[in-house]
Symmetry: C2
Subunit: 357 residues, 2 copies
Amino acid sequence: MDKVFKTPSILSTMDAKQELVAYQKKVDGALSRFFQDKIAEAGRVDPSTVDAIAQLENFTMRKAKRLRPAFMYYGYACFADPNDDVVYASMAMEMIQSYLLIHDDIMDQDVLRRGKETVHVHYGKKYGSRHGESVAICVGDFAVHYANEILAESNFPADRKLRAIVEMNKYVRKVVHGQIRDLRSSVLPQTEDDVMKTYLLKSATYTIEGPLHIGAILAGADDADLETLSQYALPLGVAFQLRDDINGLFGDPAKTGKPADSDLKEGKYTMLTVYALAHADPLEQKVLRSALGNAESTADEINQVREIIRNVSLAYMTGFAEGKVKRAIAAIDTMPYADQGKSFLIGIAEFIAVRDH
Amino acid sequence: MDKVFKTPSILSTMDAKQELVAYQKKVDGALSRFFQDKIAEAGRVDPSTVDAIAQLENFTMRKAKRLRPAFMYYGYACFADPNDDVVYASMAMEMIQSYLLIHDDIMDQDVLRRGKETVHVHYGKKYGSRHGESVAICVGDFAVHYANEILAESNFPADRKLRAIVEMNKYVRKVVHGQIRDLRSSVLPQTEDDVMKTYLLKSATYTIEGPLHIGAILAGADDADLETLSQYALPLGVAFQLRDDINGLFGDPAKTGKPADSDLKEGKYTMLTVYALAHADPLEQKVLRSALGNAESTADEINQVREIIRNVSLAYMTGFAEGKVKRAIAAIDTMPYADQGKSFLIGIAEFIAVRDH
């Protein structure tokens, strides 16, 4: 076992991004073929419902980072050589993503996702908003069933697939717990601890830990391996969400695919806003409180809020996220994982901390 | 194989109802224990979300026929001796039922379900209707994940469980196809064929065929067995839905658990209304058309519609449903299935055709 103490040839962030692009092509190809099949199947079941699957395809195939299926793929790659079967199974992570986003967009009444109109808005324009939301609930429901079928029908040993199915449903339930917390956050005051817990449930578990575990399980990893992957995944997931919040408020809507004021107008408490509320001076706090959750905020008021958060929270949060990324990398740095998986995980961690979309 | 030509000791409808009551007790006990565990788990994940699981429990544990898990249990009993493991696995069918009903109630804006308030109405009263619907989407989502976990964690051979998971997700997707048809039915004109297709997708596949198949698969049945069970399930499912429509319009709301005018006011096309629209005289047709989908219909107008449908459709539809029940029974009558399963299936078929709730 000289592998244990071998220093891996770490990929740079740039290399990890290239790896991700190569993987994206593979999974996008698999998703396209999958939807072709499912649209044909829907035509046989009932032609009048083909459009709903076509909308799910349209939504899913929009330009996206594919981070969740990628984490599953490279989680597998830490323990075994990944192949097309892993690409196929990893589509489940992207189906779960579509399912959650489509339902989430209804809950948040979001109009844009990935730079285009959300599913309920698309159908709302055609048939009225009530009907639009109903069809969108159904479209999301299709996706959660596909996710379970994909894992169950993938080409892996039966016991590993069952364990993966249990794990997937359990961690997606954690997102739903997090979503309920999030919904409550617009009606209840939130502390930093509250927000951190939501981040762990909605982002860290969901975006990184869960997919990594599924990949590792399919490759035959044991509980100790999963525990180590969690030590990487959870801090990185928090950093990922912090970066998301920063981009959501200060990023370019053309890159992030959503309006830069939506979190503020919806009154969602992020670490940025909660920290600012606790550390800004009283006058600034008043400005923050009157703008948060106020759908009628003017562009001027939003800009004022942005400036306050920039001055009070931004440097602190950026440093906090960087510390989390370091902890994440340290957790797997000396582990004897296969190079392809481990190098990606380390390279992508750096990318996550600095990305602008 | 003298069993093949043996006439089974057919249970009467009364016996099948008693069997069903005995099974209901078992599955209700299992569901209570399951929710106790899940509420404790939610407390560990996040105390602020315990209430959502408690609401799912409250909704699921309301008095209900448990027909779907019962069909799974007795589908199993056609091929092997059922035990507590089958009861446990059959909870998945009831979780799917809660998931679909909770989402359905949002789509239809229904206020009552099983005689009590729907989940979105419950939360809507507390936090406003937007918020209520959002939490209800989440509560339904919890249930679909539980359903998959229950099958995956049940005590059966891994290959059978995987096959059952694939089958369950596939047939539940058919319900979602049916739901989209149903949603369109309020914006598009419908023919008898249209309505029949919705019945096959939403009721026959879902309530009877799917659960029977899952039970049979867990017991090790082969494809030919599943095909025979479909010959029983599909006509019976249509009869079941026709009976549901009849009870929905003419039944006692105290027994059916929903207002007797909701289908009419929502403009849902049932076989009763479509048949009446095609066969009533022109004046009656005008009355029907102006009342269907009109939420403002007065009690007088609703009563007029009820009388027209009673005169035009009721006898025809009752006879049609009885014919379907006979076909269902004939499909399994001479099959060499184990008595406990087969007798129940025959007895319950008669019950389904005559039940008043």
